[in-house]
């Protein structure tokens, strides 16, 4: 359902066919972009702000909505940049490390252990992602979102033939680092 259709053209920078194209992209990609950002930053409100910001940026670049362009790859790139940046920034503030540590302390106390343990693991996963090279972390997250090899290549600006090797390498680094830090298996 849409409460304001057609797209409110007075706020868009391009002609009418571009506003229709934008509307289409928004309907199609909002859930995926928002979900990607929730996965990256965890906090739904922060993810929502970042997702809105990603689409806002797209709205300011009407040329991306012209034929032959790929606004989806651009959106994924912007959203994963914004998300990863927020993740890194949270890591600088020590947020995930603290959460992982606090949860590991709390787990010793009798209580809702499943939830505590899950929260700890989630914080650990984000902490490892934040410690990785940007491209590796984004590759893992975008692959997990369901992007194809071709989409991954375009979004991250890498050769399609390199996607598999880069993925294998990024996964190995993630697994090694995770096990090193948290002795996961």
């Amino acid at each position: 359902m849409s409460i304001t259709k057609p797209w409110n053209a007075k706020y868009m920078t391009g002609p009418t066919d571009q506003t229709a194209a934008f509307d289409d992209v928004f309907e199609r990609l909002w859930p995926r972009i928002h979900r990607l950002l929730i996965a990256i930053v965890g906090d739904p409100a922060e993810a929502e702000d970042l997702a809105i910001e990603s689409f806002y940026k797209l709205s300011q670049r009407p040329q991306l909505l012209e034929d032959g362009q790929n606004p989806a790859a651009w959106l994924y790139r912007v959203a994963s940049n914004l998300g990863y940046n927020a993740l890194r920034s949270a890591r600088r503030r020590g947020r995930y490390e603290t959460e992982a540590h606090e949860s590991s302390l709390r787990i010793a106390i009798p209580g809702p252990e499943d939830e505590t343990s899950r929260r700890m693991e989630v914080a650990q996963v984000r902490s490892v992602l934040a410690s990785m090279k940007a491209r590796d972390a984004k590759l893992l997250l975008l692959k997990h979102t369901g992007l194809s090899y071709a989409e991954l290549a375009e979004t991250l600006g890498i050769a399609p033939g390199s996607v598999g090797s880069l993925l294998t390498r990024a996964e190995r680094k993630f697994a090694r680092r995770y096990r090193q830090l948290y002795d996961g298996d």
């Binding site: 409460i3 304001t4 979900r35 997702a51 912007v78 996963v125 090899y149 993630f174 697994a175």
Partner: protein, 379 residues
Amino acid sequence: MHPSKPTLRAYHDLALPELTADDVRRHVDSCADCRREIARFAGDANFVGQRLDMLDSGSTMPVHIARARLQSRLAQNQRENSMNRKIRRAAVPALIAAFLIVLFAVPSFRAAAVEFLGLFRVEQIEVVRFNPANLPTNMKGRMMDFDRLLADQFTFTGGGEPVEVTSAAEASALAGFDVLLPPGAENHTLTFQPAGQVSITVVLEIWQALLDELGRGDLVLPAELDGDTITISIPNSVTFVNGDCAIPRAPDGDFMPMHQVDCTVLVQMPNPTVEAPPGLPMSELGQIFLQFFGMSPQEAARFSAQVDWTTTLVIPVPNSADYRDVTVNEADGVLFEDYYDSGTANLGLVWVDGEMVYSLMLNGDHTAAEALALAQGLR
């Protein structure tokens, strides 16, 4: 022949065209080595997949609510747009110019700055004090590396070679404005620099890496800068140089201290303009800029909240230097004075007269009164 590792990986991820996948499947069925290879990366892939699954959340904001939020974001931008345009015109060059002015004002950085950013020589005015000792160490040496690192992000158009001219009349004809000179000046050089544009496309990762490299990884640049292109249009300018302004180099190739130089430089040009995408987070950038010059985050936030970034150029001035507001023939300006132990001075006078920006620098055995008299006597 075995399929390559990337092919096996793509086969595992169901990323091969159907016919190729059939060929690979037939091979793998009869190849123990290939199955082992697949099992090796599949182990890591599953391990990572299980952990990333934990990040998934079933619920996203419904599209129609998200749409309403985006519209409100766009409407807000519409309201702020006219004001922002002013911000962009004034504050972006201001930030860049401020950075450059300090590079020129701190002797140890100045020599590097001349090579690094010879293009910018501008602007307008508000002052914040800083302690040069709080700046990152070895900035001068690293600046050369940064120059190379950032080269891809800068595109220069126009500009062209500077042209040496013989008179104010000739300079005025080329530049399109009335060129002012100190009366009776002799033995000077006068150079016309054609207008040019610099476009900077921000690759956030590199900029952030530079801050990290400078030991200021605590300053996090706003993510929305990434990919933004900022274009600075620098109009025709005329530079008057008198004295020995060559930057001497020691035999080891390093720069000599600037206080050995006796040099007067006057640059004049119409106000440069800047085009940047809407929503450039000026206040946040301003705070980072202030913190870079040694303010605490709290001080920077307080200062940034008070400053109208739409109209204010914030010039960081080393706390060894004095400054004061002055008027040059009724135009507002700021005069900087920094005296070396040898007694010679580094004086800077920047003023804005209508559409024109003037910057006068005196190095050597001069006084503030001389600088002011020189500026006021321009004809």
